[in-house]
């Protein structure tokens, strides 16, 4: 007698919010296209259970200056375009990036130069048709000093700015709201803190459709399991109808992965670690893939080969 197995499906009551990055001329910006993320009504890539209207996307990370401290394989592969953020962004677009993530840094004397930051953002916007994500150096005062002029200069472009943290979010949220941008709410691997920051930001009357969540990324071998599990918990909460967890998630994979010894060091490491350049790419790719399986909507990467590998993986996972 043949067995008939019933496919087990969950009946989710909630879904992830849709968030649109970038604005085309008809929406008040100059971008060539808009990128919508979110909208999932099921767990990652489970097409048999619910709708996944938008694929996750891959952003390429660039810096506002030559990245002296980046690992040699990255400097080799990008070459001279790294000396000019606009050229770098253009090259990333040619290679198929769906978003550009520009990280702003302090100048040589350790100061936050807001006017220069705004000029770099303007130049990058001019060089690429892609929507833009802009991050400050990660120190409260410097972030505010740089991101406010950036938001003003890029008014109407619907860039995503961050990072907003519980100790420093008001100034960035206000500047983003006033200029029709999005914000990235960043919390240290904790469901409740993530919810709380979303609440605080929406209390400032920022629409929820303009908030991305950064759960804090741990790289492969360096805490990825914490990020992985907090993302699964956030996504399960979102699908179960908890409104304040329904923001799309962004993971800064390239930055974290290439910071680790496996990616940074080529000499004096065990032979079992394999080829350095390949290891760096695989470390970044495996980190990205694992976090996509946990619910990432945007992953930022540094290496062009990772961009290619992660995009083709997403394409395969979206084929139902």
């Amino acid at each position: 007698m043949p067995t008939t197995v019933e496919i087990p499906k969950e009946k989710w009551t909630g879904k992830v919010r849709e968030v649109t990055l970038g604005a085309t001329p008809s929406n008040g910006g100059t971008r060539g296209r808009e990128v919508v993320v979110g909208g999932e009504a099921t767990l990652p890539f489970l097409h048999f259970e619910g709708a996944i209207p938008h694929p996750p996307v891959v952003a390429v990370e660039i810096l506002d200056r030559y990245p002296d401290d980046w690992a040699a394989p990255l400097k080799e592969v990008w070459g001279d375009v790294m000396k000019d953020p606009a050229a770098w962004a253009r090259k990333a677009e040619e290679l198929g990036a769906e978003l550009i993530m520009l990280k702003l840094t302090l100048n040589e004397s350790g100061a936050a130069d807001g006017a220069r930051a705004a000029d770099v953002v303007k130049a990058v916007l001019g060089a690429t048709t892609l929507p833009l994500i802009v991050r400050g150096p990660g120190q409260a005062e410097a972030d505010n000093a740089m991101l406010v002029p950036v938001c003003e200069k890029a008014a109407g472009e619907r860039i995503a700015v961050g990072l907003c943290e519980d100790k420093n979010y008001r100034t960035i949220v206000a500047a983003a709201m006033a200029n029709n941008h999005l914000v990235i709410a960043s919390t240290p691997i904790d469901v409740n803190l993530a919810k709380q920051l979303n609440i605080l930001i929406s209390d400032m009357r920022m629409p929820m459709e303009r908030i991305l969540m950064d759960p804090t990324t741990g790289a492969l071998g360096y805490g990825i399991e914490y990020t992985y599990s907090v993302m699964e918990r956030l996504r399960l909460a979102a699908l179960s109808g908890d409104s304040m967890t329904q923001q799309p998630m962004i993971c800064f994979v390239g930055e974290e992965s290439w910071r680790q010894k496996e990616s940074r060091v080529g000499q004096g490491v065990p032979a079992e670690w394999g080829d350095w350049h390949h290891r760096g790419v695989i470390w970044e790719t495996v980190t990205a893939v694992a976090l996509l399986e946990a619910g990432a909507d945007i992953v930022t990467v540094r290496h062009p080969k990772t961009l290619e590998l992660v995009q083709s993986t997403i394409q395969k996972l979206m084929a139902s």
Binding site: P8, H47, L220, S229, H278, A290, K316
Partner: protein
């Protein structure tokens, strides 16, 4: 899936005869549910109740063990998401080698000997899959014999032909291999071979119905240690099928599919990188055995690291014991560094100091297994904790100076620490372990 006390109560005689030693049947049922009593204490229990309780006590995903000397076990998982409890049995990693491959012995030796240390653990490959690509029983058996001469790793014997499988099993050495695979046409013959050789048996079918039908035939033939191959056609299909199997076993307690899953990462991959990606997905999402078609050290190291991460118990971060560690035989005048007892932190720091070839004292505080920044944020790695560790581990009796190097990430506690340790000089070291060798070169 364990029954609740009330569910057990319904199966008992409900006579409150007290012969079991408990005042009522309900009290006895509650003790049974808590596993503090044995059902045999009830003299009047029915056969039906015995069977129901035995079935409920069996794990929803069977534990299957491959190998003898270098054995590994998979299955017995209890959750869909690691945060709900933990994932227990790391998936075994195997390399597939064809029986026609002239480099077979070389590859066997490579897989056998590969080992890489990470946070104090040796990460290794677990099995070798030998495929009957020749279609010839003699060639297959010959390859298995050659491989067995090189390794004690368990084998996954891959052939659709019962004759070839029989020949290979005779040369395999009785080390509890996995017979791959039984399908519609050969399940009786393959099950008989597995049973005769004490092997576990993989069943393969493209539908869940097909798999369930095969496992029922195999168990009817007396083979209990089964492994499932749902033969996914692509990455999304593998994720869907593996998720459905795990859910059916755990949420529906569906016995015919309550077995570990085998994944062939190379099937459908267009490049070695794509295969590594498929294997990474299989580690996260529910595979019990993962077979690779290529062996690249960097890829395998990354996959082993992911496996270690995903299978770490979320309730128990890997820790080392707090204490004063000696690295490269330090003398009293050598540098003293302090860090937390999160394993990764300890091994990163200790590894860099060792690698730098500089002798040093490494004071490891009890920070509940948290990394430097996390522990600091939680108040588990502050001036008080460090000062206490300096006293508890009698640091002053081992060294002849009063300088302590703290991690760069907690530079802000310097002042507090100088107050807690009067007469000491607090030096701020680098933020990242990888920068320690450069820092130690400058240490006076």
């Amino acid at each position: 899936m364990p029954l609740s006390g009330l569910e057990i109560y319904k199966l008992l005689p409900k006579t409150n005869c007290k012969e079991c030693g408990f005042p009522t049947c309900l009290a006895f049922a509650m003790k049974l549910a808590a596993k503090q009593a044995e059902l045999s204490a009830c003299p009047y229990v029915s056969e039906e109740a015995k069977q129901a309780l035995a079935a409920a006590a069996a794990p929803p995903i069977r534990l299957v063990t491959l190998g003898t000397e270098r054995s590994f076990s998979v299955g017995n998982e209890t959750v869909l998401f690691r945060h709900e409890k933990t994932f227990y049995h790391e998936p075994g990693l195997a390399l597939r080698v064809k029986d026609t491959d002239p480099a077979l012995e070389e590859k066997v030796a490579l897989v056998d000997g590969f080992s890489v240390e990470r946070v104090g653990m040796n990460l290794v490959m677990n099995a070798l899959a030998i495929e009957n690509a020749s279609g010839d029983a003699g060639t297959f058996a010959g390859a298995v014999a050659k491989a067995r001469a090189k390794t004690k790793l368990p084998f996954i014997l891959m052939s659709d032909s019962p004759d070839a499988m029989k020949a290979a099993l005779e040369k395999e050495g009785g080390m509890k291999p996995l017979v791959y695979a039984a399908s519609d046409g050969n399940v009786e013959a393959m099950a008989a071979l597995a049973k005769a050789h004490g092997a576990s048996l993989a069943v393969k079918a493209e539908t869940l119905d097909g798999l369930a039908a095969l496992t029922e035939k195999a168990t009817a033939a007396g083979v209990e240690d089964l492994v499932l191959d749902p033969m996914p056609r692509h990455l999304a299909g593998a994720l869907a099928a593996f998720t459905q199997l795990r859910r059916l076993a755990l949420k529906k307690n569906f016995r015919p599919l309550g077995y570990p899953i085998i994944a062939f990462a190379g099937n459908g991959a267009n490049s070695p990188e794509e295969e590594t990606i498929a294997a990474a997905q299989a580690i996260c999402k529910y595979a019990g055995i993962i077979v690779l078609d290529h062996f690249d050290a960097a890829d395998v190291y990354a996959l082993m690291t992911l496996r270690q991460n995903i299978y770490t118990d979320p309730q128990k971060p890997i820790q080392v014991s707090p204490g004063l560690y000696e690295i490269n035989s330090p003398k009293p005048g050598d540098p003293l560094m302090v860090t937390t007892n999160f394993s990764l932190t300890y091994f990163s720091v200790a590894g860099e100091v060792e690698g730098a070839g500089k002798p040093a004292w490494l004071l490891v505080t009890d920070s509940e297994g948290m990394s430097v920044l996390t522990a600091w944020a939680a108040g588990k790695f502050d001036a008080e904790v460090i000062a206490k560790a300096v006293k508890n581990f009698q640091v002053e009796s081992k060294i002849n100076h009063h300088k302590i190097i703290i991690p760069g990430f907690v530079a802000t506690i310097s002042g507090d620490l100088e107050e807690e340790l009067p007469g000491w000089e607090v030096l701020v070291g680098p933020r990242e372990a990888v920068d320690i060798p450069a820092y130690l070169k400058l240490w006076q």
